[in-house]
Amino acid sequence: MNMNYTAEELAFRDEVRAFLDEKLPADIAAKVKGFRRLSKEDHQRWQKILSEQGWYATHWPEEYGGVKWTPVQKHIWDEESCRYGVPRSIPFGVNMVAPVIIKFGTEEQKQKYLPRILSGEDWWCQGYSEPGAGSDLASLKTRAVREGDHYIVNGQKTWTTLGQHANMIFCLVRTNTEVKAQEGISFLLIDMNTPGITVRPIITLDGEHEVNEVFFEDVKVPAENLVGEEDKGWTYAKYLLTYERTGLAGIGLSKAALQHLKELASRRLKNGKPLIEDTAFSQRIAQVEIDLMAAAISNLRIVASVEGGGMPGAESSMLKVRGTEIRQAINDLARRAIGPYAIPFVEEELDLDYDGDFLSDKNAAPLAAQYFNNRKLSIFGGSNEIQKNIVSKMILGL
């Protein structure tokens, strides 16, 4: 039983801290810590810095420009970057399509796409969900029909995160309607600038434009953009999901959000005293901090087990559920902490350069919106109910 980092791991942590102290732009960190919007330019600027450091692609083999971090090193990076206010990596290129291309793609695909992901030249988005295919993803209907050396794609994808910025989309499409739903799906890489593609914004309940609908009308996709074999896309999709599920518990993000909440609750007053001294409220904070403490140790146990060569199974699904519930609980408390000032929606205060008077607390403006926005946490990445189905299947074997 040893819960400490080794000397090498501590040295790595120092290296991470030194890098972030020196290279993380203060304006970007301030936006992340204050839950402000990040522009496309913010993301690209930070990605470039990370790429130059060689720390952008942590899941890739070194031959493609990846960096070989151990599970513990990845964990340290996650903890430190959340603490410092590093923007969340947009995962669709580097952490989602790239591992699939590396594992199942052709040499040409690797040579073409991987460097462009590293350099930030391509911004990828994910074409999985459809209006009729959410948790039941295999029921997807977007059709790709082979005609000569092309596929003709027709259909609609939805919930396409940051699709408005993307120039590439990886899609699950139906290439065979004669077989079982899972067996007729293929994995296609599509240039968003191809004629016939339309992107329409979906405005979410917090007023944000984060997700989109993507329509395909007789879109011509070169056959060389098929990854792996035709009709085998479901296998690749499942492989990708194992990458998506790691880190979805968001323990580091919850720690940062909790720190933010405690600072806020120390500034806000109730009965003439800081809210953090209020009996009821301090117990609510205490409860979520305790639950996070337990989840953080559960997360470390998974990290240590993967480090020792184990495969995370039921534990990471359970932790996804637990971790997202905790983050939502923290967001809930942050919204409560501003009391009646949760009601006004003062958009200009979301801008970090805002120099007018604040209606209430300087960090109040994004809190209610963020609470609403993060209701998504228990829905995406395999809804929490789907996670429980996955675990049930593993443990019950019925």
Partner: protein, 380 residues
């Protein structure tokens, strides 16, 4: 980072597991519980012979020099067997208080016997009005000549009915909830004026309330410095919380296993009830609670024998809060998943369920520790 037990710790846990498997069938446990003693004298003796009662004591006492992790390994297996021997009271708390506060003579007099299991200790730290606050002490110890005269009542002393020696807290100065002025005394079971009202506990063990009516003890019975008992009590209660977390994890493991097995076997509407999604998700929730509890038990064990600090206080309060809530969840949802059979005395699940709820009533429930944690939150 490595969360596995090392080879020695694993051997220790396997030893306890083997002994429990061999000696502690569900039927035998019911017999032990209904006996005069309230547990198995023979099993207790075997724990002693195998050196398991000596685990936390130093090597010169024939002990193992074990820390929180070793104690927890033992407790987890005792929990899996739903063992009702007074390990927590005699070894962890009684032995712990004497080890920490005792002078050489007191240690020599008591610790060897406690470590071997031949002497049984119990602790009287709570009182009828104290709820879970161990500083709320109204029992008084008045100085009279060279002696102390003790008057008061100590509540729910598990294992007190058969203890050879009782470690009790009594106030030598200060007001009833002051931390200052609490002293600890070693009271032999046959002391004049000591009365016990013995009762069975709802989870199968035995305990008593102690009535101290002019119990006179010599100055040599004072354990530690006069008036300075609160810190010792708090520290040892912390070690006991870590041990109790270990027991709770063992109980929860079996409770989850039993429920999972039942979901696979029990058929209704022509299918195993585990096919029903509502029961599947409940099962996953129970296992997720167990994982949280396991994580906090590990964390608690890691600080149990560290010097006192706010960090240690915080972790132990958090751990007890988590296992209290997980335990209640697993207990209630497990009974519900079993349906009628979960309500019966003759099926073992109900007894695991009862123990989990009662663990929450020992050394402070989840509300008590939440409040404690919240207080520490503001101090930080």
């Amino acid at each position: 980072m490595d969360f596995r037990l090392n080879e020695e710790q694993q051997m220790l846990q396997d030893t306890v597991a083997r002994l429990v498997r061999g000696e502690y069938s569900f039927e035998k446990r019911l017999e032990y519980s209904e006996s005069e003693l309230g547990f198995s004298a023979d099993f207790w003796k075997q724990l002693g012979e195998l050196g398991l009662t000596a685990v936390p004591f130093p090597e010169e006492l024939g002990g193992f020099g074990g820390s929180g992790v070793e104690v927890q390994s033992v407790m987890t297996e005792l929990g899996r067997g739903l063992c009702i021997e007074p390990y927590l009271q005699s070894i962890v708390l009684g032995g712990g208080l004497i080890s920490q506060a005792g002078n050489d003579q007191q240690k020599e007099q008591w610790l060897g016997g406690i470590a071997s299991g031949e002497t049984r200790a119990a602790v009287g730290l709570q009182e009828p009005q104290s709820f879970y606050d161990l500083n709320d002490v109204e029992t008084r110890a008045e100085k009279s000549g060279g002696n102390y005269v003790l008057n008061g009542r100590k509540a729910v002393v598990i294992g007190g009915h058969c203890a050879d020696v009782l470690v009790v807290s009594a106030r030598t100065s200060g007001d009833s909830r002051d931390a200052d002025g609490i002293s600890l005394f070693l009271v032999p079971a046959d002391a004049e004026g000591l009365e016990r009202r013995t009762y069975p506990t709802i989870d199968g063990a035995k305990g008593c309330d102690l009535f101290l009516n002019n119990v006179t003890v010599g100055a040599e019975a004072l354990l530690g410095e006069e008036g300075q008992g609160a810190g010792v009590i708090e520290y040892q209660a912390g070690r006991a919380i870590a041990a109790l977390c270990g027991e709770a994890v063992g109980v929860m493991e079996v409770a989850c296993d039993l429920t999972l097995e039942y979901l696979k076997q029990r058929k209704q509407f022509g299918v195993p009830i585990g096919r029903f999604q509502v029961l599947q998700h409940r099962m996953v929730d129970m296992m997720s609670e167990l994982e949280q509890a396991r994580s906090m038990a590990i964390l608690a064990a890691s600080v149990a024998d560290e010097p006192q600090s706010d960090e240690r206080r915080r972790i132990l309060a958090a751990a007890k809060n988590v296992i209290g809530r997980s335990g209640q969840f697993i207990s209630e949802q497990g009974i519900q998943s079993h349906g009628g059979i979960g309500m019966t005395w003759e099926y073992n699940f109900a007894h695991y369920a009862k123990r989990l709820i009662m663990i929450n009533h020992q050394l402070g429930d989840d509300d008590f520790h939440l409040e404690r944690y919240a207080t520490l939150l503001q101090a930080s």
